[in-house]
């Protein structure tokens, strides 16, 4: 469960996040939808305590990232915008490294990796060095290493970026599985279909502010549009960034 209230963050003159509030409940997928540069990544970075907010309040299962950074990091699984892997290590070693950083025992890591290999269909490449991996294989490894410690709350920044159709389908299956498992999932995206296919609640962000917030049906009703895409354009008041 994530509660964000009136979050603000500026970089010099630029107000990247300008008073964002939303909630993300357990057993639900919350989508942060917005054009590029709307402040989604900055919001997520504040959630996983890599950036300190200028103002506002964040509670993740009651914990505050600015004060309980280590504790929060233990309960979070994060697939950030940068998903660099270590190319001289195998996929298994990449994932195992993160397990060890979380203080997991060797046996527990091995068990967990076996489970993730089955769920994310990675058996073909799990023991290969990640040099030369396809984008889809990279994202799978990045997800597996973020999930190795079985986090309750999952944050994903543009998870389907650069994936082909098959990989995207597999990714959605996995995210829906997390939801069924009672996890709280927050993903940021600028892709309409992704939101429509996955998200229980949608938070539309534009220019650092929340433009609208609700289920897909609520957003359609509020805007009086018949498609989510039209609703989105109408609610943020511009087509800018949608085509990217």
């Amino acid at each position: 469960m994530i509660v964000v209230k009136n979050l603000r963050k500026s970089f010099g003159e630029v107000k990247a996040v300008n008073g964002i509030s939303f909630e993300a409940r357990d057993g639900e997928i919350t989508g942060l939808l917005g054009p590029n540069g709307a402040g989604k990544t900055t919001t997520l970075r504040m959630l996983y305590s890599l950036l300190p907010p200028d103002a506002g309040e964040i509670r993740i299962d009651g914990l505050d990232p600015t004060r309980d950074a280590m504790e929060i990091k233990r309960t979070l699984g994060v697939v950030p915008d940068s998903r660099g892997l270590y190319s001289r290590l195998t996929a298994r070693e990449n994932i195992s490294y993160y397990g060890q950083l979380h203080g997991m025992k060797r046996a527990a890591i091995d068990r967990r990796i076996d489970d993730l290999v089955a769920r994310l269909d990675m058996s073909e490449f799990i023991d290969r060095r990640t040099e030369g991996f396809s984008q889809g294989q990279r994202v799978k490894v990045a997800i597996a290493r973020a999930m190795v410690h079985e986090p309750q709350t999952v944050l994903m920044d543009e998870p389907s970026n650069g994936l082909d159709v098959m990989s995207t389908r597999a990714l959605r299956e996995y995210i829906l599985g997390l939801k069924r498992g009672g996890h709280s999932v927050v993903l940021s995206t600028h892709i309409m279909q992704e939101v429509a296919a996955l998200c229980d609640r949608i938070v539309i962000i534009a220019r650092g502010e929340v433009a609208a917030d609700g289920t897909a049906a609520e957003l359609l009703a509020r805007s009086g549009c018949s498609s989510l895409e039209d609703a989105f354009v109408k609610l943020i008041g511009t087509e800018e960034g949608l085509l990217a």
């Binding site: 890599l50 990091k73 233990r74 979070l76 993160y98 950083l101």
Partner: protein, 392 residues
Amino acid sequence: MRGLITVFRKEVRENIRDRRALFNSLLLGPLLFPLLFVGMMWFLESAERERAEKTLELPVVGAEYAPSLIRFLEQQGTVILPEPEDPEEMVRSQEVPVVIRILPEFPAQWEQGLPAPVEVISDPSRQESNAPIRRVKQLLLGYGQQIGALRLQLRGVSPQLASPVMIKDVDLSTPKSRAILAVIFLPYVLMITAFTGATHLAMDTTAGEKERKSLEPLLINPVPRWQIMTGKMITTTVFAMASLALTLVSFRIVLPYMPVGAFGMDLTLGLETLLKILLIISPVAILAAAMLTLLASFAKSYREAQSYMGLVILIPMIPSLIFMANPVKAEAWMTAVPLFSQNILIGEVIRGESVPLAWYGASFASTLLIGLILAVIAATLYNRPKLIFSTS
């Protein structure tokens, strides 16, 4: 500490698989410098011997004024060349290293028993001319002494009266202490190796991690940032130390092939000496790892980091160069100066002197202190979000 150890183990494993790291840290320094050293020695020695043994060819201006001197020179094996048109130009253009000019007043002065002038035209600033100049001057001096002795004898005076002082050399230098080149060169090489051994790792674990976009996910793990950075710096230090140890071993292997005789060197690096040197230089490895990591953390990419490194490599060179230009006598206060003290101590150890324990302590502590200060700064660098997210 768990996180620190995890980071350390992963970095070691990753970099052992990296050919670039192995080449830079474990091959380049340990192979290049000892070979360079031995090659340089061979070259110096053979060039020196060649110059000393080669027939001396000497153009003489005004040979007709001093036929007996010319005869003497020829008896000593000198080949007298005919009078050149412009002797100064000949020396300046390096056609010959030295020309002598016997001045027209030579015969008159000679007759009267006054010093008769001979000019030795040369350019001593050219290293390669030193041997021939020395030989020509020795010949002229020898001739002068011979004639002087004869003149005294003719007048019934013992030539010994003209040498009131007899100089006898009592040489206390051991063969080891004569290993001057090694004393200066080895510390220099080791100081540079400490830095070159650390360079690649320092850049790869910081700027490289940022460039590959694996820094941000790494920092989301529940491990304090200082532990992550310290783990990286320890890896860098270990590689620098390995580089140093290999360089020393490789020196030990090639030294027997050195042309020992010419320099009067007896430089066998025993195990004890090697360990002492390694101990002296080890805080430099820590200092280098911390300093290079600190710098590379500011870079956005490996290439940007590389551009800083050219300047950093000057840092260990400066104290060595000062020491080379002015080989001072070792004194206590110098052993507290980081990077300079190592030059002095390694020199003393090679020379076979017994070094006071306090000197080891001062050198080790002062260098380690600076190293740790830099390490603390480096360890906290990634607390600034600006440095994490700056990507090119």
